[in-house]
Amino acid sequence: MEERILEFIGDLRRAEVRISPSEALDALGATSEIGLEDRETFKAALASTLVKEARDAPTFERIFNLYFLDLEALGEGLQKALGPEDPKMQEMLEQLANEENLDLDDMTELLLRGQGSEMEMAIRSGSQNAGLERLMYFLQVGYFSRRISDQFDWSAMERDLEKIMQMLEAKGLDPGQLARIRNYMELRLEAFRRMIRQHVERELERRAWRQGEKLTREVLADKPLFALSPDEVAQMKTVVARLARKIKDALALRQRQEQRGRIDARRTIRKSLQYGGVPMEVFLRRRHREKPKLITICDVSDSVRNASRFMLQLVWSLQECFSRVQSYVFVSEIAEVSQAFATLPVERAIEWALKGAPVDFHCRSDFGYAFNRFVQTELDTLDRRTTVMILGDARNNYNDPQAWALRMIRERVRGIIWLNPEGQWGWGIGDSVMPLYAPHCNFIRECRTIAQLGEAVDSLVHQWWRRGR
């Protein structure tokens, strides 16, 4: 069973549940304390040692069901088919086996009185010999089920059953009882066959799921943002949310770390009165660190819409880490959407910014004009604590780039960060004016994929805002 659990842990890890070796050891220790009799208890033991985040619970649930057959449910079906007389019959058979000292095949023994878990173990070892690891397609299910059942000596079982029936007949049971017993044993055989097939089906599902999961994560993280389908966008939302959480924790930690400072004379003297005027405990005046301000300017034209969506989601989630977040969107006309960010839940805020904001979504993007307008209306609100973050591909449709506007912004603020959802090879080619804007930016990154977006934000948190910028 240990092997099975370790394999299970391996799959959890592959599904991005973080499990340390010591936790894996705990899981083994816990399950050996608990045993396998009760599925719910077994599951609780694994969950409490392996799953430490509420968000991982659904993943655990799913993989657990793929790995560990619901024997009870299976048993219940069997019970129903057998009718209420079953325990009596079981007793009788057991008595018979003890009295007559029957020489039965191992498998028959298992069938007669085996627990579900023992039966499953038998199937597992059978499937190892049958080379189940080569299972790949649905069409192979029948083939492998047969191969596994070929591992068992069915004829020996049939012989044993005949032997038992004869013995019972010799004991003088009436035909009705005999028929019921035969029926019972045949049902058990049937259930065993069913278990084999189910085992193979689960194995296939597990494999398919493992492959799919891997593909989704790797491919989506490296797929250009503009090429994501609506479904994929929905999937990536959770990834971005996780990213935001990580950044938030890092920022919160950093803000608390600062504990040095000047002496707080008032508190120190007051406390010293307790000790006859001796300043036993010294209190420091906590330096109050101001949270940075953030202004985001997002291009929301069609070509970069997905990138803007993730960017806005990140910004929305990080709002509380900044003293003030102002968000602007533009195509060529620029508009502030901060209001929606402060009041609406994330989904609706982003939808509104991308669709309902008072800008014309159908014209061609014009960075120069947008920056010009921004400078004219908002220049006074900028100060040295502000960081301006711009998201756009700098494809200006051959309009006037007006780089002077960006320079004016640069002179007022802490710095300008530019995240470009276009590959670096395209900057400066065609209508891209990135090289004209680049000299005025402090930090430029290519953010073509989610993975890159993550890296960019990560390095921003660790370098850019490190000293409370």
Partner: protein, 306 residues
């Protein structure tokens, strides 16, 4: 010590706490493996109560440490009673004078005072805080660290150190090792992410709002005066209110309060007027209140008849 998961479940039941299979399993494992349990879940589902009940059924005394922002080692572990120490030295000034009176030189006098170190640095001047009391206790205890998420990450790191080997060093007295390893229960409301180290170290238990059947059992157990039919209606109504998108959905303790108030009011069945007047027992925010009141007919629709 418990012999089986069933025994844990039964003993919790006897102590009037409905423990699910999952809860009993984790408690059983924690006792067996000597691991701390970290309980997470929404407020008012019985996290703290679990620790209290555990102490009751195992007849181990409960030591409770409530965490809050700014909690530090001093307040959690021990504090020196400087003032008392100072007072003693002042009162004993004469004796100290006598002691050093016939010392030939200053170094000799210092040596003489140093010889009396034990008198000044002893447990007499140490006031143990929860963690140290759990370590010093003569009998096994249950240590409840409540709302660990309220404390700072640094404190969490310190706690982790204590929880991993159950010994602390007091510089003046040396290392103190626990005589009995306490059972440790930590609770968290998830105000912030806890460190991975702490989570790794603990068995994790997530307690969510109970399923209707469990909640019914809880109400029957805690409010036995209530008729079964009414209890069923209460559970169904609370379930519906929880499903609304509220700022704070009603917890188990709140539905118990509500059930009790209904009993006091001698209610026979739920009707709009009654629910509206007692709603404040259940829903605590003005906005939530308005929301529930607006959807009251939906809440009361097809409840089990009383």
């Amino acid at each position: 010590m418990f012999q089986s998961v069933e025994e844990v479940q039964q003993r919790f039941r006897d102590a009037r706490y409905i423990a699910t299979r999952r809860i009993s399993t984790v408690v059983y494992l924690a006792a067996r493996m000597g691991r701390p349990v970290l309980i997470e879940g929404p407020a008012g589902v019985g996290k703290t109560e679990l620790a209290k009940t555990l102490s009751e059924i195992s007849s181990r005394p409960l030591i409770r440490m409530q965490c809050y922002e700014g909690l530090d080692e001093g307040k959690a572990l021990y504090e020196w009673k400087y003032a008392k120490q100072l007072l003693y030295t002042q009162l004993l000034r004469d004796r100290i004078g006598e002691l050093v009176a016939n010392a030939p030189s200053l170094p000799d006098a210092v040596d003489k005072i140093a010889g009396q170190d034990d008198a000044f640095f002893s447990f007499r001047f140490l006031s143990p805080r929860p963690l140290l009391s759990a370590i010093l206790a003569d009998e096994p205890t249950v240590l409840l660290v409540d709302e660990i998420d309220k404390a700072e990450p640094e404190f969490e790191a310190f706690l982790l150190e204590v929880l991993s080997d159950f010994q602390v060093s007091v510089p003046e007295l040396g290392t103190i090792r626990a005589r009995h390893i306490p059972w440790v229960v930590l609770t968290s409301n998830n105000a912030r992410e806890l460190s991975d180290g702490l989570k790794r170290r603990c068995l994790h238990l997530f307690i969510d709002f109970p399923a209707p059947a469990e909640e019914l059992a809880i109400i029957r157990l805690k409010v036995p005066e209530m008729s079964d039919k009414l209890a069923e209606a209460v559970v169904a109504a609370v379930g519906k209110i929880r499903a609304m998108d509220l700022r704070k959905p009603p917890s188990v303790s709140e539905s118990l309060d509500w059930a009790r108030s209904l009993v006091i009011l001698n209610a026979k069945q739920l009707n709009a007027e009654l629910v509206e007047s007692t709603l404040t027992m259940l829903v605590k925010y003005e906005k939530d209140l308005e929301r529930v009141k607006g959807a009251l007919d939906k809440v009361l629709a097809d409840l089990p008849p009383a």
